[in-house]
Amino acid sequence: MKKRWFILIAVVLLVAVVLAACGKSSYKCEDPYGCVNVAPGQPIKIGAALVLSGPNESLGVDSLGGVEIAVDDFTAANKDWLAKGKHSIQVVKEDSQCSAEGGQTAAQKLAADKSIVGVIGTNCSSAGEPASKILSDAHIPLISPSNTAPSLTAPKTHAECYLRTAHNDKVQGKAVAEFAYKVLGAKTMATIHDGSPYAEQLQQVACDVFKQLGGKCVAQEAINVGDTDMRPVLTKIAASKPDVLYYPIFIQEGALITQQAKEVPGLENTVLMGSDGMISPDFIKAAGKAAEGMYLSGPAAVNNEEFNKKYEAKYGQEPPSAFHLHAYDAATMLLNAIKKVAVVDKDGTIHIPRKALCQALFSTKNFKGLTGTLTCNQYGDCADPKININKIINGKYVPVWPKK
């Protein structure tokens, strides 16, 4: 039997060597980080490291839709370019979860696949921290549609080839505070977060700015994911009678607070505000009538009629969260950059130099995306940071600020 094993291995080796020899091409890669070579008939692979399980899954499903539609659109627009070598574009999905170790695992898996050109992700900043480092070490660009933690693009801590089309928390927190103080005329504000880094950061920024403007942050409370009885914490907040209650959390707990706030004496005149974590048809469904009149901040471009049509046609539902357009832009940016730096051989093989790709991404200027006009700075912030405040009227998100 041992002999048979040897024979088998020998055959395998032989076949492999022959195949490797056939694959030789005329292009010589001079990029210091190497090149991705896509043989004719093979797909160009881009990764999607998104949260595809657990409580924040709608965020990932939403972004994934954006990426896939971007790929469809790019494929349709660049038929000739792809047709030469019979290429297609394949999206490799990885669940990065909403945690550091999830981000790490997804990044490791994508980094191990040498045919991956670039990655869209992650959704949660906690996953983005390790993922950005690992993928940059592998010279694979990572573009996030919804990481909002400032540290990811801070001068000292950013990763070499990490970019994002999402706005920084600081922008949104500021918008909320300004809207509450200037437009609503609120003098006191209370906040609730759910212990997620995103919500915690956002309410902190909002509070800080609100104070700078001259208002008062009367209570900063927190709940835990999975809590259901919000009445005690709301009763506590009611005792300080805030003008505005801001809770930038997610659908489940957000809906509970919205509903129960109506039942707690003392909060009758308090205006409720939330953020993009609750911009979702699911939220309206879960919170019901209680959500009427509530204000939600979010990226200015949430409702793109044309995109929504494509999304519904493809998935049979509305986009479940607020970052699909950012994901669309991220993917389009990546694909355009790939096309820009790629060298196509006579036989149709596409060569993509890695460092050049990364540089091309960072030099993106005045890119007309669905979220606005994107220009990347040296640390990887590409967003056109426009924030809208939406009001829920008859179960629809209606932008009310800034006035056009």
Partner: protein
């Protein structure tokens, strides 16, 4: 005549069961979700799921009646079971025009119906589905009526081929991945690969069944002087194993090494919890607390960010991580000294949650970062070299496992180890044997916690940033499950358990939302199949052996 009736009755019953399982996997969405994943050329995992849900029932049923019934009847029964199973599933698309299943079942929609009916409409398609089910049943009946050797071999080869196909994308990520390219499709195996795997599996079975059993005789033969052949063989095998273990990550590439690293971290934790639960019999559901403490200690002491308090290196901080976890183990051990069994379980669970919530709290945010966690935790330096990639960490973790296993093993073979086990068996009698329960319990908690602290410290440095969300109850549950799946109290069992419960789920990542379902089902299945664990603790033979320890 009567037995005939019961045979057919039970065939119908099994057909209904097959249908129920088929309906379950369809409605839960397994079939549809897996349909996108090719395993062998065009055959998708979705198809396989359906076929397996009928096939397993049919196989078990037919195999049970193999002796008593004729071949023809088996085939007929197989067709009945498979066909009936398929019919029940086909009821969905057939009745869909009148009943709105989608109102309740999210996956019941046109996409699923067209998948089930091969896109041929409810009537033609359903007939096709039933035909496929019946044929599949016949095929299974044919396999069942093969002679024992071939039957087992074919079933095994079938399962192995599916598994290899399922995991085939891992091969391309390996360092030696190019070797496998000719056998892989865009996804999964190609026909060549599938045939090859199937054939190899059968060939191997054939070989191992027909080789001459001379080796067993060899093993018994003892040389009068010095080492026996068996011992020599053990040494050679041990040396080979060492080489393999050392070379593994180089062979597997960075992703699989990463998976092994996670398995390794859980192994360290498992070895620690094994002391608490396996040896001392103290049911601890809050084990993650010490993991968190080790990680946070490492983060605070080494981070180069604003929360770092000492800017030490990994090596300077590790002893403190272990020490802090150990002290915490003792402190949290004191209030539970008087509690037994399940009371202990819920209280430790509470401790684990308390630690996590405190780590998350606004209250302690100025010290440990709250929800924002601790960032910028540096990698361990090593003589001017930086331990950075998963492959590097593999060796670091390997050293950690070695250390933990060494300590656990030596403790087990001591007065303290026996005291732990005596306490596990009967606390009162142990006390009456002169064992100080307080000291014995607290040392168990302390050692268990210190292993967890070590794992946490490595984890923090490995991931580079830690967040309170990483330290949830699921980790405690996972560690407890893996030591029980491996075999309570057994050190090799810990490794087998973490391979099964940490390694496999990592490999099943692409099934995202179905991963936990598979995890839950396999926990139940594993315990039903092997209640004593996959590698139960071996009984130490020492009545007639002279040596003590080594």
């Amino acid at each position: 005549m009567d037995s005939q009736n019961t045979f057919w009755k039970s065939a119908v019953k099994n057909g209904l069961l097959a249908g129920a399982i088929g309906l379950y996997s369809t409605l839960v969405g397994l079939v549809q979700a897996f349909n996108k994943r090719a395993v062998i050329e065009q055959l998708s995992l979705g198809h396989i799921t359906l076929l397996l849900s009928w096939g397993v029932v049919a196989y078990v049923f037919l195999n049970h009646h193999r002796e008593a019934e004729s071949k023809g009847k088996l085939i007929a029964a197989g067709a009945l079971v498979g066909g009936l199973g398929a019919f029940l599933v086909a009821l969905l698309p057939m009745t869909a025009q009148w009943v709105d299943y989608h109102f309740v079942f999210v996956h019941a929609g046109p996409e699923m119906y067209s998948l089930l009916t091969f896109g041929k409409g409810p009537w033609v398609g359903s007939a096709m589905l039933v035909a496929v089910g019946a044929l599949w049943g016949v095929l299974i009946a044919l396999v069942v009526s093969l002679p024992t050797f071939w039957r087992n071999s074919v079933v095994k080869a079938f399962l192995i081929t599916i598994t290899v196909g399922l995991l085939s994308d891992l091969f391309s990520g390996m360092t030696i991945g190019w070797m496998f390219q000719p056998f892989l499709g865009v996804e999964g195996l190609n026909i060549l690969g599938a045939v090859l795997v199937f054939g190899l599996s059968i060939a191997y079975d054939y070989w191992s069944a027909h080789r001459k059993p001379k080796e067993s005789a060899e093993a018994v033969a003892t040389e009068p002087t010095g080492i026996t052949k068996a011992q020599l063989r053990r040494m050679v095998v041990g040396a080979l194993a060492l080489v393999v273990v050392a070379g593994l990550p180089l062979l597997l590439g960075s992703y699989l090494s990463h998976v092994l690293n996670m398995v390794g971290l859980y192994t360290i934790m498992g070895l620690g919890l094994n002391i608490v639960v396996g040896y001392a019999g103290l049911l601890d559901l809050g084990y993650v607390a010490f993991f968190a403490l080790g990680a946070y200690m490492m983060g605070l002491l080494t981070s180069t960010g604003p929360l770092g308090i000492a800017h030490w290196t990994f090596w300077e901080a590790v002893p403190f991580s272990i020490l802090v976890a150990m002290v915490a183990g003792i402190l949290l051990g004191v209030p539970v000294l008087r509690m037994r069994g399940d009371y202990l379980a819920i209280v430790t669970l509470g401790f684990g949650e308390i630690i996590r919530i405190l780590a998350l709290s606004n209250w302690l945010k100025p010290l440990i970062g709250g929800a924002q966690g601790i960032l910028l935790i540096p990698k361990p330096p090593l003589f001017g070299f930086k331990i950075q990639t998963p492959i590097h960490f593999y060796y670091l973790i390997l050293v950690g496992i070695g250390l933990a296993a060494f300590v656990a093993y030596r403790l087990r073979e001591s007065r303290l180890g026996r005291a732990w086990m005596a306490m596990r068996e009967d606390e009162d009698v142990a006390e009456a044997m002169g064992i100080d329960l307080v000291v014995t319990k607290l040392t168990a908690f302390a050692f268990g916690a210190s292993f967890s602290g070590l794992a946490g410290a490595i984890f923090a440095s490995y991931v580079g940033s830690i967040f309170p969300h990483s330290f949830n109850l699921l980790i405690s549950i996972n560690v407890l499950s893996l030591i029980i799946v491996g075999g309570v109290g057994s050190m090799p069992g810990v490794f087998v358990g973490s391979l099964a419960l940490v390694g496999l789920p990592e490999l099943l990542r692409e099934f995202a939302e179905y991963r936990m379902l598979i995890y839950g089902l396999s926990l139940i299945a594993m315990m039903l199949l092997k209640p004593e664990g996959f590698w139960p603790e071996p009984i130490r033979k020492r009545e007639l052996r002279e040596e003590v320890g080594d």
